[in-house]
Structure formats: C-alpha cells, structure tokens
C-alpha cells in the first residue's frame, strides 16, 4: 500500500496511513441530514491482511460504517484514513444492472477498470465458477432467485484485486449450506490474496468463524461496544464451530451483543 493515503473528514487533507494499516477510523461520527444519528465516536483499526467481522443490531450503522470506509459517504466528524486504491465492496443489496446478463454484471468492474477483453473473460469465468453460477451466465437478474443475485454481486466483487475488501452481509439471502461454502471460499480467497477484510454479518457463528477479530456495535447511534479476538489459526475447518473453545468465543460475542440491545 502506498504510504500516503486520503484522509476524509477534514476536506482535502491527506495524512500518511500508518505502515501496516489498511483502514483507520478515529472518533468517527455520522449524522445524516435528516438528523439521524447513525454512528458516534467510532475508533477502529484494521491491519493489512487482517479479517475483521462486525456484528450489531439492525440499524446500528454497520452499512454506514462500510460506506464511510469506501468513501461513498462522508463522515460528519472524526477522521478516516484508507489506502488510495478503490476497495472491493459487496453491498447489502445485490445492486445488479437489470439489462445485463449474469456474465455482463460480473464483468462490470473489470470493464470499468479497462481490463483487456480476454483477461476479463477469464476473470468472469473464474468468479462465476467460484460462486457456483455456471449455467446461468446468460440469465438476466430478474430470472434469478434472491440468493443467486447475491452470489452474482459477490462474483462481481471477486473480479477485482483490492487491498481492502468490504462485505455487507453478503450471505444474508443464501441457504445455510451455500453460506458455509461461500464462507470457506472467502476464507480461501483471503488466504490467497491477503487483503484486509471488513465483513458485516448478523450471524455470531459466521462472525467468529471468519474473523481474527469481531467488532460488536451498539444500537443506534453505533459505538464500538467490544472487540473480541478470535485465536484460532487459519485455515479453519468447517467443524471448528462445534468445538468447545469456539463456543466460548461465540458466547463472549453473544453476551456483548445482548448488551447492545439493552
């Protein structure tokens, strides 16, 4: 990552991003123009290659947090430092272009990045096979189920090679088994590409299984209630989640989450 990075929050100013850091929130707050207080005093650091998951009640500002990290939303207070490269981002909604086929949607980013056609085709085919969408290349989004649309969105994000990857509940609309498989796929991808990941989920088990650290947000306005370190080494087997030690960590996260509702 480049040593200088954009700093958002104070307009136009740039600060050096501390070495080894992919994303740094310092005392970030967000109040929307309609007065909604979404985030307050959030400080959070994600190191290069670290995979962090975020849990919190609905409306606690998780999506807002990711939007600020990506630069799509400006924070109202505090400072944000991220690398200059565009992050990978899977939105909470699939956000597909309805006039494009599955193939066309998956290839959108590569096309916008002006990746040569041949290479683009390879990237698209690889992403489609990774998300198990083979056979649906020529389908339009309207002809897909909700879970399949989400996989198309995931596949599209997988065609870029970012150093920071943001996932906003990417498996929300996917069945349990596929969810598990896609989780393994994300972990494999992470092991290979070594990007820094921020992954929002509502599932405590998924949060613990994927992350080296789980961030628990409070109810709105979102604050960081707890950060729970997850000590297990990667790659993690699927049945790690049935281990007693895993259960202990999950219980800690769950307890913090309970607190967030009170």
């Amino acid at each position: 990552m480049s040593p200088t990075a954009r700093l958002r929050g104070r307009k136009g100013e740039t600060v050096p991003l501390a070495p080894g850091i992919a994303l740094a929130f310092d005392d970030v707050g967000k109040t929307f123009s309609d007065g909604t207080d979404a985030l307050r005093g959030v400080s959070l650091t994600v190191a290069d290659g670290e995979f962090v998951t975020v849990v919190g009640p609905s409306g606690s500002g998780k999506s807002t947090l990711l939007r600020i990290a990506s630069g799509l939303t400006e924070p109202s207070s505090g400072t944000v430092a991220v690398g200059p490269k565009a992050p990978g981002y899977v939105f909470q909604d699939p956000t597909l272009l309805p006039w494009r086929t599955v193939e066309g949607n998956v290839g959108l980013f590569a096309q916008l990045d002006r990746v040569p056609k041949k290479r683009r085709r390879e990237l698209v085919a690889a992403a489609i096979s990774l998300t198990e969408l083979e056979g649906f290349e020529r389908h339009r989004p309207t002809a897909l189920s909700g879970g399949m649309r989400m996989r198309v969105s995931l596949a599209r994000a997988l065609t870029v090679r970012p150093s920071l990857f943001l996932f906003d509940e990417p498996f929300g609309a996917v069945d349990e088994i596929t969810r598990q498989r896609l989780g393994e796929e994300v972990q494999r991808l992470h092991a290979r590409e070594r990007f820094a990941g921020v992954f929002v989920t509502h599932s405590v088990v998924e949060a613990v299984w994927l992350a080296s650290r789980v961030v628990v947000l409070s109810a709105r306005p979102g604050r960081v209630l707890a950060q729970v370190d997850v000590p297990f080494a990667y790659p993690r087997p699927a049945d790690l989640r049935f281990d007693a030690a895993f259960g202990d960590v999950a219980r800690t996260v769950s307890a913090a989450l309970q607190e967030s509702f009170t």
């Binding site: 565009a86 992050p87 939105f91 909604d93 272009l97 006039w99 096309q111 916008l112 990045d113 339009r140």
Partner: protein
C-alpha cells in the same frame, strides 16, 4: 398446435398448456374490443338509418357505403393511399429528427446543469406555443413543401422525447451509481453503461407519444402546406369541401390506422429492446 387423440387417462392440462393459455388469452384480449367495435357499427347504422333523414344521410353514410365507395373505388382509394404515403413520410422524417435532437438535448441537459437550467424552460415554452398559430409563419419562412411540414412535426414531437429521456437519465438508481463511483468511472462510462440503458424504457415511452403527435403534426401541416404531392390532410380537407363523405371517412380511418400502427410498432420495438429486463407491467 396439432390436435391428437388424447390418451384416456392423460390429464388435459398436460397437452401444451402454454399454447392453450396463449390462445385463450389472445381471444380474451381481442374479444371485448371487438364487441365494442360491433356495438359502434350498430349504433352507426342506427344513426344513419333511423336518426338521419334520407336527405341528410350524406353526413354519416352507412358503414358498407364507406367500404364500397371509400375503399372499394380504386381511383379514390389509390389517391387516399398516396396521400397517406406523403404524410407518413413527413411524419417519420419529422419523428426521426425530433428523436435525434431530443435525445441529444436530453443527454446534454443531464450532463451539464447549466444546459438544463438555460434550455429546459424554453423546451417547456416550445410545448405551450399553440402550433396552429406558428404554422403560417413556418410556411412564410420555409415555403409550402416538404420541409415546412417536417418542421411542424419536429416542433410537436420534440418535447415528449426531451422530457422522457431526461427523466429516464435522471432517475437512475443511486446504488447503481455507487458501483460506478467505487470504480472511479468517468462520465462517459456512466452515461453509456448506466444512465442510457436505464433510461431506455422512458425513451421508448417518449417515442411512442411523439409518434402519435408527429402524425397529427403531419396532418395539420397538410392542411396548410399544399405544394407538391397532397398529403392525407389536404385530401380530408378536399373531401370535406366536396361533401364526399365516404372517401372522407375512409381517409380518416386510414390515417387513424397509420397512427395506431406506428404506436404498435414502437410498443413492439420497446418489447424487443427492453422487454427482457424492464419490469413487466402485466404478469399472467
């Protein structure tokens, strides 16, 4: 579908239910309008024979007379068709110019706020000018032939194309824009890959409205500009002057049919271009 002997135990629904359904749907769709047509023809006959004295029957000749005298008499009908051809040419050329100009203007307005702010009020003003009032002026400037007629069509057809295209371009989904923002896409990529495709359904709505207006504009033009091949509008005027009601009715019907055909054609084009993804309005 070929009718085959049905196996005694086979469920009737198993036999190509889709084609059955489509036939039935077509029948159900065409039935009511046809019934209305029959009723209108019935009322027509009633008015002609019961309400009008024989002396005044020329005001509304019976339907079969319109068919025999209007469509059946080849010299008259040929004249009508040639008139329609001239008018159709004007309407289509005018529509094409309006479509090109309208889309270019809409794209410029969507790309630069100042273009929209400076020109949109004038586009609205153009819409409110009573076209009949400026038609003579157009003739005065441009003569009484093809181009004057075409300009009238462009003037009446331009506005719906501008507004609909602009509306389409500006109502693109904000989240889809975010995708492009994330990849730092330029204006052109945004326009070509996002705004224009997403505006296409609205563009077709505008084209459909303008097609109808352009036909009206061409017929209005015919009334005023009579140089060269007479359009169907001039024929309608002539037949009225000469009290030739059967050809008059035939000419009116032919021009209405042309308008309908154009409307249908753009509906078809829209279905081909965006039907595969535009949210279907009706689902069986």
């Amino acid at each position: 579908m070929t009718a085959t002997a049905r196996a005694p135990l086979a469920a009737p629904a198993a036999e190509s239910p889709r084609q059955h359904g489509r036939l039935r749907r077509t029948a159900r769709g065409a039935g009511p309008p046809l019934a209305v047509l029959a009723a209108v023809v019935g009322v027509w006959y009633a008015v002609t024979y019961l309400a009008l004295a024989p002396r005044r029957r020329f005001l509304l000749p019976p339907p079969h007379e319109v068919v025999t005298d209007g469509f059946g008499d080849w010299t008259t009908f040929h004249e009508t068709l040639r008139g329609l051809g001239a008018t159709a040419k004007v309407a289509l050329v005018g529509l094409a110019i309006a479509a090109a100009l309208g889309m270019i203007f809409a794209v410029l307005m969507s790309q630069a706020g100042w273009v929209e702010r400076s020109f949109y009020p004038w586009a609205v003003a153009l819409q409110t000018i009573p076209i009949l009032a400026i038609v003579p002026l157009i003739g005065f400037w441009l003569g009484y032939g093809f181009w004057s007629r075409t300009v009238v069509c462009v003037l009446v057809a331009l506005f719906p194309i501008i507004t609909n295209t602009l509306f389409g371009l500006q109502s693109t989904d904000a989240q889809q824009h975010d995708l492009f923002t994330l990849r730092q896409a330029g204006r052109w990529a945004r326009l070509v890959h996002l705004e224009f495709p997403s505006a296409l359904p609205a563009v077709f709505t505008g084209l459909r409205i303008s097609a109808g207006l352009s036909v009206i504009g061409a017929i209005v033009g015919d009334f005023f500009f009579r140089q060269g091949q007479p359009g169907i509008g001039s024929l309608i005027d002539d037949y009225t002057q000469r009290l030739q009601s059967a050809p008059l009715f035939a000419a009116i019907m032919v021009s209405s049919l042309f308008g309908l055909a154009l409307f249908w054609l753009f509906g078809l084009a829209a279905r081909i271009a965006v039907g595969a993804w535009d949210t279907p309005r009706r689902r069986s």
